[in-house]
Assembly symmetry: C2
Homo-oligomer: 231 residues x 2
């Protein structure tokens, strides 16, 4: 077990924990805590209690709490990007890939609601143009959009999808997936839905993927529909 981290900051590193695993433990504790408490507002002391590590390690590994959140998003974004790359390389019909892609997004938001909240907190209009927002654009949004574009191209080449603008596709599909997880108050107060169960998740996957797919499939006489704005 490497002791380099312990040598650098001896008083703060817990016994018998490597640098890599302390870092991972903090990330895991942060994600568990945010999902458990249903908020992204967690304190360093809560994090210390949950991880059984000194909260000063957050500063040591991540600079500050925002750095920890960013590292968490990098960890999870890497998984999402890898899964999407894998899906693209799989020999399946484009329509099936599209459905699995939508299912993947909704399942990720359902499993880790904090991800959706962090994306909003870091990317939305009240907080954009920060260094975090720029990093998220680079390590997550750009590769994600590039892979979505490949998926659309696969469908076009197979003659099953009509040509659609990748920005409109990105915004409309992500917006549809997203709002279910960013409208808890509306769901509760208007629709009497206190929480998003597995059943709701699966029905919503069916609803959104069917809508997006039907919007994409090439029909006789439809051609390239989305690109003729009427000024």
């Amino acid at each position: 077990m490497p002791a380099s981290a312990a040598l650098r900051r001896p008083a703060k590193i817990p016994r018998a924990t490597s640098e890599q695993s302390s870092r991972d433990l903090l990330l895991a504790a942060a994600s568990e805590l945010m999902n458990h408490r249903n908020t992204i507002d967690i304190s360093l002391s809560e994090l210390a209690t949950r991880s059984k590590l000194n909260s000063a390690l957050v500063k040591y590994y991540f600079g500050n709490k925002e750095g920890l959140m960013l590292a968490l998003m990098k960890r999870d974004a890497a998984i999402a990007i890898r899964d999407l790359e894998h899906l693209l390389a799989t020999p399946l019909p484009p329509a099936i890939k599209l459905q699995r892609h939508i299912a993947g997004v909704i399942k990720t938001f359902h499993r880790s609601p904090y991800l959706n909240r962090l994306l909003h907190a870091m990317l939305d209009d009240r907080s954009s143009d920060t260094d975090s927002a720029k990093q998220i654009a680079e390590f997550f949004v750009k590769p994600y959009v590039r892979l979505q574009r490949q998926l659309l191209l696969q469908g076009e080449k197979a003659g099953v999808f009509r040509k659609v603008d990748s920005m409109y596709f990105y915004v409309s599909t992500l917006g549809a997936c997203d709002l279910l997880f960013n409208a808890r108050f509306t769901l509760r107060s208007v629709f009497r839905v206190p929480r998003i169960t597995d059943r709701i998740r699966d029905q919503y996957i069916e609803h959104v993927s069917s809508m997006v797919l039907q919007g994409l499939v090439r029909r006789s006489g439809s051609g390239s529909g989305s690109g003729s704005g009427s000024g």
Copy 2:
């Protein structure tokens, strides 16, 4: 010109302005300012300068700035609800009504970006369960959902729409319309789109309404698709 307001708070009411129009002027100034400055963070002194009215009138008419924002949303929500009611009563095919409904939502967000931002600021998970959120649910979301449900029923009865869950319909269509106006940083940094032009608005209306409509239209062998969650 009624002077009742001026009699109650003589020092703060501007000369030759009725209570109703002072109130309206403050609302108009707030909406102009937020659209002009591209933010919902406006100060009472900016509001006073813009409206040429004393900022103490905000307290007088609305209690505080949040009350003013809420009154603004009520004003705009009333217009949106009235338009949707009018559309439902118009003798048009359900598919056309659906397209006009989507176009109406996107045009409203495009014309008044602050509305979208206020909805997020007041309804999203970081600030829900407040009295403002509850009021918005009552005067806007509930009637809006009820009218959407009527639109879906008209289409079902005409045999052109399949049966869909109104919560899934609400969340997916509003989410798709919404994200274009709540992703300015992504649009700028990833898609090199500095602002949402009329052309983009119209193309997006075409994209979303086509997607939603295709997702709704009844096809041979499709039946009632969205309601078979796979656990």
